[in-house]
Amino acid sequence: MALPEWLVNAFNVVTPLVEWVIVLVTPIYIAIGGIFASIALMFIRILPSDSYVLSWIVMGAFIVLGIVFAVLAEKKRNE
């Protein structure tokens, strides 16, 4: 089953444009990825590399903060 000719022509027009978009966007994407990676590297230097205790403490702190802020906002709204 061959594609109709008008569709093939449309693809011939669109494909180079898409390729150009990919060519233009890829370096930006890789640059953003590099920034992300450098941020990650900076963060890793702070983290201890032997136990999960610090990350568990951070997780617990965020959970407690979330509960506290939610309850406070609820009280404010009730008043």
Binding site: A37, S55, I63, G66, A70
Partner: protein, 161 residues
């Protein structure tokens, strides 16, 4: 939304983010590092593979906490965009770690079945990274929505008095 409803939502969000940011990454990394899928081209620049799994998991735990707090807070509260910002920052670090891994190609080959295919995973990681960029833009918009109307309200109040 009511507080108890949001609490259930927060629990669901925490469990989901545990699955997506702690369990699944560890499972996938361990799966791809042990025998079933031989990795043709994998370069890891930070320490060892187990170290990478460790860092990914420890950041995943933090994301679990932030996700819980974020979905517990009501829309329009000042705390919500701040939690959102923390979550985006942690996600940036999370995917930044994955960029270190550079799984260019995972090759699946089987002589007995005559199967040979190579899967490019870098594209997948970059897709997820694009999601984070979008999330960052959303966070900035969230900040605008939460903090700008308050200023105008204050002005209006000042004019009234």
């Amino acid at each position: 939304m009511k507080l108890w409803l949001r609490a259930i939502l927060a629990l669901v969000a925490a469990v989901a983010s545990y699955g997506f940011y702690v369990y699944l990454p560890e499972y996938m990394l361990v799966l791809s590092s042990t025998m079933p899928l031989p990795i043709a081209d994998a370069t890891i620049t930070i320490g060892s593979f187990t170290e990478l799994v460790f860092y990914i998991k420890s950041i995943g735990f933090m994301i679990v906490g932030v996700s819980f707090a974020h979905s517990l807070s009501e829309k329009g509260d000042t705390a919500k965009p701040i939690f959102h910002l923390f979550r985006v920052l942690l996600k940036i670090i999370f995917y930044g770690l994955f960029i270190f891994v550079e799984f260019s190609v995972i090759e699946v080959a089987s002589v007995t079945y005559g199967l040979y295919m190579s899967i490019d995973i870098t594209v997948l990681i970059y897709f997820m990274m694009g999601g984070v960029v979008l999330d960052l833009i959303l966070t900035i918009l969230d900040f605008f929505i939460t903090f700008l109307p308050k200023k105008s309200e204050d002005k209006a109040m000042g004019e009234d008095f």
